[in-house]
Symmetry: C2
Subunit: 292 residues, 2 copies
C-alpha cells in the first residue's frame, strides 16, 4: 500500500510554477495575477482563500483579495465581476462559494469572463471539458488527474466508481476519467444518493473516487483488494483535542480501508493541496494565454 502524498506533489508543482514565473519575469513579462472575491466570514471559505493567497506567494503570483460583508448586493458583486473582467492586469479570478442566499451563485458564475474563469465553473469551460477541448479544468478533478499521472496509476480499461454527482467534482471527474488519454480511458460509473447497489458497485471498482461529503462512508468491506482510493471528502468534525475545535474527515474509513489498497490519498494532505495547485496552474495558463 502506497500513500499518495498530495502535499509533496503540490509542493513540487508549486516550485515548477514558480520557476516558470521566474522565466516569464526574466523575459520582461508580466507577473501572473489572481484575484479572489470573498463574501462574509464563513470559516471554511476564510481558510480556502487564505490558502490560495499563500499559494500565490509560493508561485510568485500577484494576488488580490477583495472582501465584502454578507450584506453585499448581487448588483455590487456583479459590478465588481465586470470590473475584474475588464482589468487587463488581472489574469484570472474566482468568487469563493458559497455566497449568501440572496445572491444567485449561477448568475455570478456566468458573469465571469470564461477566459478569466480559473475555477472552470463557467458553462463554456464545463462544456469544453466534456467535449475534450483545452479549457480551464475544474480544480479538484484536475488535481486528481495530476495525482494519477504523477504516480503512474494505470486507469485504461479500469472500472472507476465516482461517488457523488456534483457539478464541481463528480460530473467533471467522470467526464475526465472516461475520455481518451492517460490518465483516462476508464469505464466510469457515477453513484449518488439515489443509487441502490452502491456497495456492489464499489466492491467491483479498481478505482474509487469518493466525493459524497459523508464522513467514513467507504468501509473496508466495500473495497476490493488492491483498489486505488481517492478521497475528496473534507467534512469538518468537532474535535475538542484540536486548537481549531475540529478536524477534517474524509469520505473513506482510512484506518480500515488503507491496508487493502494499492494506493490511497489521506485526508488532509491528499486531494486538498492539489485542488489549490490546479487553480495556480489555471492562473498561469490564463496569464500566458495558452488556452484563450
Amino acid at each position: 500500500m502506497q500513500i499518495i502524498d498530495g502535499k509533496a506533489i503540490a509542493a513540487t508543482i508549486k516550485k515548477e510554477i514558480a520557476q516558470q514565473v521566474d522565466e516569464i519575469m526574466a523575459k520582461g513579462g508580466k507577473r501572473p495575477h489572481l484575484a479572489a472575491i470573498l463574501v462574509g466570514h464563513d470559516g471554511g471559505s476564510e481558510t480556502y482563500v487564505a490558502n490560495k493567497v499563500k499559494a500565490c506567494e509560493e508561485c510568485g503570483f500577484t494576488s488580490t483579495l477583495i472582501r465584502y460583508e454578507d450584506d453585499v448586493t448581487e448588483e455590487q458583486l456583479l459590478a465588481k465581476v465586470q470590473e475584474l473582467n475588464n482589468d487587463p492586469d488581472v489574469d484570472g479570478f474566482i468568487v469563493q462559494l458559497p455566497l449568501p442566499r440572496h445572491i444567485d451563485e449561477q448568475k455570478v458564475t456566468e458573469a465571469i469572463d470564461y477566459r478569466k474563469d480559473v475555477d472552470g465553473f463557467h458553462p463554456v469551460n464545463v462544456g469544453r471539458l466534456s467535449i475534450g477541448l483545452p479549457c480551464f479544468l475544474s480544480a479538484t478533478p484536475n488535481g486528481i488527474m495530476e495525482l494519477l499521472r504523477r504516480y503512474n496509476i494505470d486507469t485504461k480499461g479500469k472500472k472507476c466508481v465516482v461517488l457523488g454527482r456534483s457539478n464541481i467534482v463528480g460530473k467533471p471527474m467522470a467526464n475526465l476519467m472516461m475520455q481518451k488519454g492517460t490518465p483516462g480511458d476508464a469505464t466510469v460509473t457515477v453513484c449518488h444518493s439515489r443509487t441502490l447497489n452502491i456497495v456492489e458497485e464499489c466492491q467491483a471498482a479498481d478505482i474509487i473516487i469518493a466525493a459524497l461529503g459523508q464522513p467514513h462512508f467507504v468501509k473496508a468491506e466495500m473495497v476490493k483488494e488492491g483498489a486505488v482510493i481517492i478521497d475528496v471528502g473534507t467534512t469538518r468534525v468537532p474535535d475538542s483535542t484540536r486548537k481549531s475545535g475540529f478536524r477534517l474527515c474524509g469520505d473513506v474509513d482510512y484506518e480500515n480501508v488503507a491496508p487493502k489498497c494499492s494506493y490511497i490519498t489521506p485526508v488532509p494532505g491528499g486531494v486538498g493541496p492539489m485542488t489549490i495547485v490546479s487553480l495556480m496552474k489555471n492562473t498561469l495558463l490564463a496569464a500566458t494565454h495558452e488556452i484563450y
Copy 2:
C-alpha cells in the same frame, strides 16, 4: 415485452408542435424558422437533411436549405454561419456533419451563436446540459429521455449502462441520466472501446443505451431478463433486396434480445424519429425565446 414506438411518439409530438405554431400564428406571431447547411452529397447526410426539412413542414416551420459543394472553403462556410447568426428571421440553424476534411468542424460549431445552436453542440449548451441548466439539449439524448418519459419507464436508482462515449450521444446521455429528475437519478456506467468487462456491465444493467455504431454488438446473453434496451445504432449494411441497396442495422441483435426485454426500441422506427423531433422542439424553443 413492449416495443417502444418512436415513430408514433414522434408523430404525436410533431402534432403537438404544429398546434403550438398555430397558436403563435393566431396571436400574430412569427413562424419558427430552421435553416440547415449541407455540404457535399453524402448519402446519410442527404437523407437526414431531407427528413429534417420534411419534419419542418409537418410542424408548420419555415425551413431553408443552404447547399455547398465539397470544395467550399472554411472561410465561406464561416461567413454563412455569421450571416445566419445575424439574420433575425432565422431562429435556429444546423450545419450537417460530417464536413469535408479541409474544414475544422469544431471551429464551425463554435462559430454558431449558442442561442441559435439547436443541435446543442456548442460548448455553452454542452456545459449547461452538464450543469443541469436550461439549454438546447443534444437531439438524440433528448429524444431518448422523451421516450422514457412518455412510456413512464422508471429510471430512479436503476443501473443504466451507456455504450459509447461520443460527444453527441454517449457523454450527454450519461449526464442526463445521472441528473436529478424523472427520467434521471440513474446509476450510470459509460462503457467504450477500452472497457474490459463490457459483458458483465451489460448483464448487470436495468437499462442499456447502445450507441457504439457496431451492428448487433448487444447479444441476448449480455442482457438481463426484463431490461430496457435503447438502440441508437444506425449502421448502413448492404442489402441487395432493398431498392436503396442497404438497410439500417442497430447495435442490438434485436431478434434474440427483444424476447428478454421489458421495453426495446426497434431500428428503424425507434430513436431515429425522436432525434429529428428533438431538433424541432429546440427550434420552437429558439423561436419562443424560452431558453435564451
